[in-house]
């Protein structure tokens, strides 16, 4: 018994020590290797496979699906029924018909459910591609909708009290330390010129950097051969932080997206991007 608690004490001390020194190793100040991948990107050129996914997304939009055999063309993304041009750039936003703030993905699910009669649980069970997949319907729709906002100003709505409350929640979560490593989003994303291995970490509290980061999602991820959304990006961050899994369509996800979108407001949508 005594031995166990000694071990536990040692382990506890060790675990408590981890975050500090690991952070020193992991979040290394960026060296003067700014542009280390410039040569790589120059050689890559402009051809982004996301262009296929844009087309696929548009096809899903006009495809009759579900028990109602309806398309998504009557979906209201905040700018009126069926208006897709510029809609993505104003998310997340409050919708009167659901009396809540929604991100683009939860809004799409709502339209699939109400217009097409589809089961939201089925779609929410697997919204994102898994290993071996080549893209999901949701990823394609988000890619197309982002392209419909390409070049436009990031302008999430913040007029409604629930929208502002969502921002406040997002900010709180952003700085909230938790999990076995005591990480918060801020641990990696509150300072400029930091990187993990050779990947730059955008400072999501600084306007120019968060605008560039937020505006470039969804993006074709070369290492995965498919387009990933901002919702997926957050889910993956949670996994990497060793936090509990981020539930698809949850308020936490919407709150963090609101926080970033508002910080990015005024910036330009460049999505779909091309990323590692």
């Amino acid at each position: 018994m005594r031995r166990q608690s000694d071990d536990a004490m040692t382990l506890y001390r060790f675990v408590m020590m981890i975050p500090r020194w690991w952070l020193l190793l992991m979040v290394v100040p960026a060296l003067a290797d700014e542009g280390i991948f410039d040569q790589y990107r120059d050689l890559m050129g402009d051809d982004n496979p996301a262009i296929f996914v844009i087309e696929e997304g548009e096809e899903f939009w006009v495809q009759s699906q579900g028990p109602s055999a309806a398309t998504l063309e009557a979906c209201d993304l905040g700018l009126g029924t069926g208006v897709t041009r510029g809609a993505y750039a104003q998310f997340p936003r409050y919708f009167a018909d659901t009396d809540r703030v929604m991100d683009i993905e939860t809004r799409l699910l709502y339209c699939m459910e109400t217009l097409q009669g589809r089961d939201r649980e089925v779609i929410a069970a697997k919204p994102y591609s898994l290993r071996g997949d080549f893209g999901t319907e949701l990823e394609a729709l988000v890619t197309w909708l982002a392209a419909e906002s390409e070049g436009m100003t990031i302008a999430p709505e913040q007029a409604h009290p629930k929208e502002r409350a969502m921002y406040a929640m997002g900010e709180e979560i952003f700085f909230y330390r938790a999990g076995p490593h005591d990480f918060s989003c801020a641990t990696c994303h509150e300072q400029s010129n930091k990187r993990i291995r050779l990947q730059q970490l955008p400072n999501l509290t600084e306007h120019t950097e968060v605008a560039e980061a937020y505006g470039s999602w969804p993006a074709y991820r070369m290492s995965q051969g498919l387009v990933r959304t901002m919702g997926w990006r957050l889910q993956d961050c949670f996994r990497q932080q060793r936090w509990p899994g981020l539930i698809f369509g949850s308020e936490v996800s919407i709150a963090l997206q609101t926080y970033m979108a508002v910080n990015a407001a005024g910036g330009v949508m460049t999505a779909p991007g091309l990323k590692r």
């Binding site: 040569q39 990947q199 993956d236």
Partner: protein, 158 residues
Amino acid sequence: MNDTTKGRVSRRRLLNWAAALGALMALPARAWATVSRPETAFDATALDQALMALGQTPTRHEGVIFTTPDIAENGAVVPIRVEVDQTVLPNVSKVSVLVEMNPNPLAAVFDIAPGTEVYIETRVKVAQTGNLYAVVESDGQLFMASRETKVTLGGCGG
């Protein structure tokens, strides 16, 4: 049709190409593959094995201009370019790209028609840091250039 409209390509050569392609396209995919695909070279699991299957050990030649990034953002997509300076290395009919540290080093073989500039751009998978090779065939001889490309481990997201 007279020869002058085809430039340097002789009518007979052109008809051979067209007939070959027509025949290849008409065949079931598997048949096309076995007609001219260097299967042994593609199956080779070591660089020298692949090179021998392509013909011989190539000699370096400055006429082969091979561009790869010094360091790749990820190993799944590595852009490369192969050009040939035809003033010092003419009659190039074939370009092969090999990635030494891949399970099967031979990635691609390009047959260039006469009259086509030798200029190939593509993107290949590079399993880990190592040498990439551009091997060209000119009048039955193999010449090459090589470059090392570093492949990084991912940091996180982004």
